[in-house]
């Protein structure tokens, strides 16, 4: 089993079985996983808490992957998102990338690939956060007269 990866992940897919199993497997690898089967639900969850990575399926009934991506990005521009492209259409994938998705994976998902991608995002996010806190500290240092 791979080394444990402590990341907080949100999975969004309409296939409950898929989400359930994938969550289970990710949790076995030490990740904290939240799951949503509908776009609206995912948007709500993303508002309440922050995730290291959000994995969204492109094709979903109702609010589809692209729409969900857009809404999450609106509320939380820093969210790191991986698209799952079951459809494999270049067009939708490019569209997703344009809307701010970090990466995409083709279904069926290879566990190794997914973990790698999540890891990358987490590292990136930590760097961003560090940079951000550094900036904040600098800002505080600048604004507050000690």
């Amino acid at each position: 089993m791979d080394k444990n990866l402590h990341a907080k992940v949100l999975l969004v897919d309409d296939e409950e079985d898929f989400i359930k199993t994938l969550s289970q497997r990710l949790e076995m690898r030490g990740l904290k996983v939240s799951a949503a089967t509908r776009g609206e639900e995912a948007v709500g969850l993303a508002e309440k808490q922050t995730f290291d990575a959000i994995v969204i399926d492109l094709a979903m009934p109702g609010m589809d992957g692209l729409e969900t991506l857009k809404r999450i990005k609106e509320n939380n521009p820093d969210a790191e998102i991986i698209m799952l492209s079951g459809q494999g259409t270049v067009k939708a994938t490019t569209e997703a990338m344009k809307l701010g998705a970090e990466d995409f994976l083709e279904k069926p998902v290879d566990m190794k690939d997914l973990l790698e991608k999540i890891n990358e995002l987490k590292t990136k996010r930590i760097l961003v956060l560090q940079k951000k806190s550094m900036e904040e500290i600098e800002q505080i240092l600048k604004t507050k007269a000690w």
């Binding site: 079985d17 076995m28 079951g86 494999g88």
Partner: protein
């Protein structure tokens, strides 16, 4: 207009209608041909026949009118000349019988001397006699002894006394020689008594005269008396003094002879005589002109008919063939469109299926993954190895399914074509390099017949590679060892044509229409996805080209790929 067009639609035979589905209801080309033929013949020959008929009857009428006019003038001329002859004869007799000569002519042999004198001048005088008021012939000179004959009871004697001049009909009389008499009555100025001078004239005179005025040998000109007895011999109606059987009325008539010939009868009464002149013309004067006209007309009409027939036949054959070809083209285009449509919808269906299958596939994938994870975490137990093996096989199968769905989606995906100038020959050579090994392995020979001066085409290099690779691979697969693959390129009508030909097993006819359909494969299960040719088909179509196949079982298969030199789609961009 609407009821009119509906009416036309109703009366037009089925074979002429514009029907959409000729496959189900093929039109009868023989019917089209026959109808067209008759319509065109009627249209072309109708006016010819009408004109010819009009010309025929008008000319005939014209000729007959002229004929009639000529006949009339000849009849009148003849009757006038005969009247003139009779007049001159009459005037001789009148001259001889001057009023006061009765005594002179009845005494001595003066009558004989007179007759001699007359005879010297006019030899046709047969005899001469002088008759007194009581009808007794007082003096006579001629071949018979008729002196003292009593004519007082005779019709003619009464008439001559009453009217002064009398011309008899031709009769045989005592002498049994046809002759006629001219009698002139006079009144003796001394005795106040009437006397009559009667001269008999040989009828041959009339005959001769008639013969001389008869201009045309074919005509029949004769005299007939009031009672219908012939006065001169007729060529057709018998000798003189016989009864004329034909019923001829005064004026001009037309009739048909016993022999079936057209006849013209003309009859004119000669003034102051008992005779009428009859002119019978057997045929028209213009008979020659008429027959030449008729034969010319016949030749022209027949020539027209034959020419029309030939031209119409040619035209109709051509038209029917054109219609047939157009119909066939329509049918084949419909079939092709149907086929293309079918392929496209199968493609869409395939993409949909591919997409739908991806989701359950993802679940299977995750479930086996989870199972494998759990297997790793759990300690050894019975059958653990077997279960791991099963899970691995499931994983492999999922991977295979993934490959299929991937290709399926690729089939439906219309990724953008990267246009560049491509040398088709170069692409083929590159592809052959890929395949060299597998060909060597199967000992398959490759023959390239590439047209050297092929122009570069605007197309997608990679996709062309894919196309040639797919088809050549199929060719290699279709052959057992030691086959021959021939690849030809040439420029045909502004397009580059690539023929990839093998001498392999060939494709059965029942399979041939389906080879471009997705999932259609004849390879063993698992060896082929059945997508190769359908993807190739899609690619060729995307590049604006066309792909066709011809195959004979046992002899081989030839794929012909036609590629435009400049893609139309690209030109529009």
């Amino acid at each position: 207009m609407k009821p009119l067009s509906a009416f036309i639609h109703k009366i037009v035979p089925y074979a002429f209608k514009d029907v959409d589905n000729f496959e189900l209801h093929p039109r009868s080309y023989s019917q089209v041909r026959l109808l067209l033929f008759f319509i065109m013949i009627a249209i072309s020959i109708g006016p010819v026949l009408t004109t010819a008929g009009l010309g025929y009857y008008n000319y005939k009428e014209l000729l007959q009118k002229e004929e009639r006019g000529q006949l009339e003038s000849r009849l009148v001329g003849s009757s006038r000349s005969i009247a003139a002859l009779i007049d001159s004869l009459k005037s001789i007799v009148i001259f001889v019988a001057s009023k006061n000569r009765y005594v002179e002519l009845t005494t001595d042999n003066n009558l004989e001397l007179l007759f001699d004198r007359i005879k010297r001048q006019y030899e046709f005088f047969a005899d001469i006699g002088v008759i007194d008021q009581d009808g007794i012939q007082q003096s006579y000179w001629g071949p018979y002894d008729l002196k003292g004959a009593d004519y007082s009871k005779e019709e003619w004697f009464k008439e001559v006394i009453a009217r002064g001049v009398y011309i008899s009909r031709v009769y045989s009389g005592y002498r049994l020689v046809p002759h006629f008499a001219i009698a002139v009555a006079n009144q003796n100025p001394v005795t106040k008594k009437h006397w009559v001078l009667r001269a008999t004239i040989d009828a041959v005179t009339l005959q001769r005269f008639v013969n001389t005025i008869k201009t045309n040998a074919s005509d029949d000109l004769f005299l007939v008396d009031d009672e219908g007895y012939l006065q001169t011999t007729s060529e057709n109606f018998g000798q003189n003094l016989s009864q004329l059987v034909e019923d001829i009325k005064p004026g001009i008539q037309q009739g048909i002879s016993a022999g079936g010939e057209n006849l013209f009868y003309g009859m004119d009464k000669i003034k102051d005589t008992p005779w009428s002149v009859v002119l019978v013309e057997k045929r028209y004067i213009h008979h020659e002109e008429w027959t030449t006209f008729r034969s010319k007309l016949l030749v022209i009409v027949v020539a027209c008919l034959v020419l029309n027939l030939l031209i119409v036949y040619g035209l109709v054959t051509m038209l029917t063939n054109l219609i047939r070809k157009a119909d066939e083209l329509q049918v084949s285009m419909l079939q092709e469109a149907e086929h293309t449509d079918k392929l496209a919808s199968i493609g869409r269906l395939a993409a949909g299926v591919g997409h739908e299958i991806n989701n359950p596939l993802a679940i299977i994938n995750q479930k086996t993954g989870l199972a494998e994870d759990l297997m790793l975490l759990s300690p050894d137990f019975e059958h653990k190895e077997t279960i791991s093996g099963c899970l691995k096989v499931i994983d492999q199968s999922v991977d295979r399914c993934k490959a299929i769905t991937h290709r399926l989606l690729g089939f439906a995906r219309r990724s953008n074509v990267q246009y560049e100038n491509v040398q088709v020959n170069e692409v083929i050579k590159e592809v052959m390099q890929f395949l060299e090994n597998s060909m060597l392995h199967s000992r398959i020979r490759l023959e390239l017949k590439l047209q050297e001066d092929l122009p570069p085409i605007l197309s997608d290099h990679l996709q062309l590679q894919q196309i040639f690779l797919n088809i050549t691979n199929n060719a290699i697969d279709s052959m057992s060892k030691e086959g021959l693959v021939t690849i030809m390129t040439h420029l045909v009508a502004g397009e580059v044509r690539v023929v990839i030909q093998d001498n392999g097993s060939g494709i059965p006819t029942d399979i041939l229409p389906h080879i471009f359909e997705p999932f259609f494969t004849t390879k063993e299960t698992g060896k082929g996805t059945g997508l190769g040719l359908s993807i190739t088909y899609g690619l060729v179509k995307k590049l604006g080209g066309d792909i066709t196949v011809r195959s004979h079982v046992g002899q081989g298969t030839a794929f012909t790929i036609t590629l435009p030199i400049k893609s139309e789609d690209h030109d529009q961009n």
